[in-house]
Symmetry: C2
Subunit: 329 residues, 2 copies
């Protein structure tokens, strides 16, 4: 069984509630475009009441990534917590329907399944307000060391640092992966998330993480620099492998002495950027788990990101393995 | 207050669960393409388990129509039953967020909010399996005669004949509308639905309905003829106004001595036909409620149908009132 899974992801299990609004809506509700805000239940309710008609679709950053890995043809598993309610059923169904293993015990008490209220503005940017809900109940007891040992890469989202018990689960899982000789990958998730947990994230990046995923804003926030190149020089000293995304300007992938500057894959029209980073991670990690070169991993990331920003929603619609055909041989 | 509402709709309140599958999926589950099947809870569960990743979005035939009326700028109200659960909250939110009045009491016991499992095949056709859920609890007590009197047109879906109490609510509402001097409109909904309730529908069409909406298959099923023209000759004797849709071949609108053949509005690509009939009805009824000519009503129907088949989901994304600009003056 050891190593039979390509990627195992762990994160906050959320259902996305997507609607289209003007920039004025963001101002009115004091939301910073392109970022993620944590909201409590009353604020989530007020925001939802103010939002226009919406679409519900399974989300969660690491879950989107894991679905992307499965769409590439990878063997993938997810760890995250929902409640025994209708949205929890939706979340579980959509994971399993894409072939992702999902065995985390469902919460039978406590808050409902978490949701992410996503406002898409006319510029296709997404702004997220997350009510964590049942995700706060994810804890060390949900981490099965035998399962972790089966995955070549364990992928953890920085958002896990928001709920305290999940932070503990994060540490236990990372320890289990390393104990089994596996690689640990981390996404910094969001610049505000980096601000909330900078000391912990610096420690993780310097001592506990093998593969780092971040966008330009997040990596600059981590090192508190304004210059991408300065952040790049810092991270090279810390991580075995890092993939840093820069939206339309593509990504920079580093590993040991290697540095690759990878172009973004052009798209006809950017419809909704929700999930762009998650799907870049999917392509990159799938490539790594299959032993592909770093530049190819970056290109698979660009390909998956391009697919997901071409339509509404944070999970791929087209089968990524087919799109990637030539690169996968 | 009398006549301050353009259209009041009553129907089975459902949340759509939309996924894409091949034609083989329909065969495997004995589903007839393009139609609606009623399913009980265990069969709904089995179907859902077999379905790929899905999107949840508010639906319900008459509810889609009423949202369309509101999108045209009409004053609209909806009557239909959900439970006090997460999907019920989604359904209620999406109606109110589009400016539709919705005051039906929420069920606090009994089955959960109903849902419609919709399989979209590569030809953009949709095939529906409906679990009625809380809709079976809609009954005469949910019909407020004072509310009905406020609407210029009362729009009823044929699907209401499936749950027995809703059938009773249908009759009470139609009686209240006529007592207040209002018009009653009916959609035949689905050919299988017509087969289930043919005698009742014939009686309604001949004696109780002022405005009939149906597609070619449904109107032929009603009169048990194979020829659209034969059905047309029959219906002219029975209804004050009828709008009969024929997919890409447009629609035929009749009223008294008038007969209008209205072209379908061309679209770049048909993505998902879910809601085409519902949105045709929205344009047609909105036009009628505002006293527009029958040909213009038909064109507004074509315009709304063209919008909704250009994307996934059964409710308009673009504001129909703006699209219709010139026709509305």
């Amino acid at each position: 069984m050891n190593g039979d899974l390509d990627v195992i992801g762990m994160g906050n299990a959320l259902v996305d509630v997507l609607c289209h609004e003007s920039d004025a809506f963001l101002d009115r509700h004091a939301l910073v475009k392109g970022t993620m805000h944590l909201v409590d239940e009353p604020r989530a309710r007020r925001l939802y009441e103010a939002m226009g008609p919406a679409v519900e679709v399974s989300g969660g950053s690491a879950a989107n990534t894991i679905v992307g890995v499965a769409s590439f043809g990878g063997r993938a598993h997810y760890i995250g917590k929902v409640r025994d309610d209708q949205l929890g059923e939706v979340f579980s169904h959509d994971l399993r329907a894409t072939g992702v293993g999902y065995t985390t015990a469902t919460a039978t008490t406590g808050p409902p399944t978490g949701r992410c209220l996503i406002v898409v503005t006319p510029d296709a940017q997404r702004t997220m307000s997350t009510y964590l809900g049942a995700s706060v109940q994810l804890g060390p007891a949900d981490v099965d060391a035998r399962l972790i040992a089966r995955g070549r890469i364990l992928y953890l989202e920085g958002y896990l640092f928001d709920p305290p018990a999940a932070q503990e689960a994060f540490r236990v899982a990372a320890g289990a992966a390393h104990a089994a000789g596996r690689k640990v990958a981390l996404t910094l998730s969001d610049p505000f998330c980096v601000d909330r947990h900078r000391a912990a994230f610096l420690d993780l990046v310097e001592h506990h993480v093998d593969i780092l995923l971040a966008n330009e804003t997040e990596i600059c926030a981590l090192y508190q620099v304004h210059d991408f190149d300065a952040a790049l020089r810092r991270v090279r000293r810390h991580c075995e492998i890092a993939a840093l995304t820069r939206s339309a300007r593509g990504s920079v992938v580093i590993g040991g002495d290697e540095v690759h500057v990878v172009d973004a894959q052009p798209v006809d029209a950017v419809i909704d950027t929700t999930g762009a980073g998650d799907l870049y991670a999917a392509g990159f990690l799938f490539g790594l788990s299959r032993g592909l070169g770093l530049a190819t991993c970056g290109r698979l990331g660009s390909l998956a990101a391009a697919e997901v920003i071409s339509h509404v929603g944070a999970r791929p619609v087209a089968p990524l393995g087919e799109l990637a055909g030539a690169w996968l041989g």
